[in-house]
Point group: C2
Chain length 457, copies 2
Amino acid sequence: MQAELTSAPVCQVDLLIAGGIVVTMDGDRRVIADGAIAISDGRIVAVGPTLVIEATHSATERIDATGRIVIPGLINGHTHLPMTLFRGLADDQDLDEWLQHTIFPAEAMNVDEAFVRAGTRLALAELIRGGVTTVCDMYYFEHAVAEEMAGAGLRGLLGQALIDFPAPDSADHNAAMACMERYVDSWQGHALITPAIAPHAPYTVCDDHLLEARRFADRHGCPLVIHLAETRHEVAESRRLKGAAPVEHLAALGVLSEAMVAAHVVWAEEHELDLLQRHGVGIVHNPQSNMKLACGVAPLPSMLQRDLPVGLGTDGSASNNDLSLWEEIDTAAKLHKLISADPKVVTAQEAFEMATIRGARALHLESQVGSLEVGKRADLAVLDMEAINQLPLSSIYSALVYATKASDVRTLVVEGRVVLRDRTLLTLDEAAINAEALTYRHRIVERLGLDSGAAAG
Amino acid sequence: MQAELTSAPVCQVDLLIAGGIVVTMDGDRRVIADGAIAISDGRIVAVGPTLVIEATHSATERIDATGRIVIPGLINGHTHLPMTLFRGLADDQDLDEWLQHTIFPAEAMNVDEAFVRAGTRLALAELIRGGVTTVCDMYYFEHAVAEEMAGAGLRGLLGQALIDFPAPDSADHNAAMACMERYVDSWQGHALITPAIAPHAPYTVCDDHLLEARRFADRHGCPLVIHLAETRHEVAESRRLKGAAPVEHLAALGVLSEAMVAAHVVWAEEHELDLLQRHGVGIVHNPQSNMKLACGVAPLPSMLQRDLPVGLGTDGSASNNDLSLWEEIDTAAKLHKLISADPKVVTAQEAFEMATIRGARALHLESQVGSLEVGKRADLAVLDMEAINQLPLSSIYSALVYATKASDVRTLVVEGRVVLRDRTLLTLDEAAINAEALTYRHRIVERLGLDSGAAAG
């Protein structure tokens, strides 16, 4: 066997990651005890035992993952990256009070393109440190988010927000749609960025504009990102004003499609899950945000039983207040056990699938990412497995879901490019990001007329 | 003012921690923007603005906390430290199945004094790295836990378990009580260790032995630690067999007292909270364990409204599966918002109080720890406040509860002794602990006849 391997033709590759426990998340959920991954031109060209891969591949660069775990990069399916600058600005409030008294005024007073860039860079640093390689975002000035993300080397499904009131980046609907057209046209085909149209929610975008967004998505072949059925209040108002719950309403309107990525879907009954399933809608579950804002609990066990494409998201840092997908994985596994009164519900493996391969399906990106398989984009994280909080490691999915933290992420590769090496950010200037965050905090606090000593009181 | 200060007599102290945001958790919940703490003989001798404290104190050692946050050391109110070696051994199972098929056999086959020591050291390393200075534990061979804890320099309220079946450390009840007597006698009066008697639960210890434990606690003036009203099943069985819910039953039996620390208290009705309140029982809420084992949700908002002494615990790593109190604080704040359908419930400050001053009350240690006040033991943590996951810092309690992680803990002081400095453990040999954990994992897996390749599959 050894002789045969060494006599095989040796393939030259860009990058070899070798010696770790490789958690592939492929169709067989193969876990390779001493595995290696060969990468060329941003794609995975081989996955297998280190012995085999090293004998048949010669790499320009080699990362030693001995004593580490290699996983597909995590997928954060719903967030608002620039809002990271609003972290901790207002907590423990009613959703309405929070939006009307703090977030909307804060956005009106602060959000411009420079703010969006600074907030995105801050968020990207946290995401990279936390092992996330793909992000689905929704905000204003999304072209700026796209530029920052492409520059930092992360993968994004990035929705330019559409909302029926004057937005920080466009005065009216026509301006917004013109901007949308330019944005989507200029980013389509990019290796890292998938531009999308993002009507905010059925309660903030009128039916005509929702339909226009659907037609736009069809015409451009781009995804449509939306908030859907997040609160009881939203459902009640939808029933009152439109005679149907939000999912029912979008179905009747003809907006549901397999290009759609719907965040939250907390309040959906079985017949509404039927509708989402029939149309192939991707769903993103945000357990911590839904808890903190007291929105409710999405019917995740039912979604999983139907094998729906459902991923996990952190939501924005103004509501959650961090971008650690590890805590969402952990919370998803625990929350649904509690709610179902059944400790067997949402196993560690199922929770980890939502952060990887099922999350890729939720973003309709499963042909590109979500698992470590030949032909997929080379998006992966190398984790410590001997941090004191992980020892002893008895079962791999249990360790990943219940014990591993963002701080255990050591190295991150996206599209074959190393963006974090041994905990050092290679594509972002962390000191500059920190200084910028501080400057913005002072400005935000001052403009909102908040106590500038709030940090100390 | 300056002149007056410098002409004041200078007091010589052992340790000065200066320049950080000091979150005192004192009666006024004072937060000092640029504060300092002077420590002598293990106690806090001064707290105030850095300018004032530095002008009036000369220290042998000085820790610069500029740009950092100084908090009272966290209090982990309920855990089973040695079980850290069982981390991830069995998840996503029914509580009964988990206990009968994995935990009890694993304990019978593995738990001896050496195991307890190794598991405790592993746990202590994680606790110290996570900012915990006081721990309430319950397990077997508790004298060994006490020795390891005193050696590592952490504070413990340590309950030697009493249970009505043969335990790893005593063949029968008489042997157990003799051992209890020796244990409590030898540790009482220790600066760090408060020995306690720990009847496991009302369903595993008969009424006679519960009463004997109460008399033992009275006679020795030591705390009594117990699991109480953790599951619906426990309550139903208690009603069936004893005609009363567990809290009611203990009250009628005369076991409730202000020496008691009751873990969980998930299933307690208002009249049972009355009973606990009347007797001054300390309560420890374990939100993540209760979620993962699908036990239910403790009536925390009601407990807080009554101003009960209720703290937070991680429970053992076999059930949770980590010892990060930060995640319990975060989860406590979020979970009760969800369950109450009210985002104003359990504010960040209230959640942080449970991990500090209210947690100290739960362990009846509030005269010693839980806040940074003159006369209290010098137990404190110095945290980063410019980690990428914390920026920007808008509100101190929000940052502590919703954004700070165990990985943000930089330095830890217990009883005036630095046990963690700039993330380096000073009282434990981390490499030896890691190696030992690995050895035990192999042994546990082998003895249980589990797949030894479980870590990779």
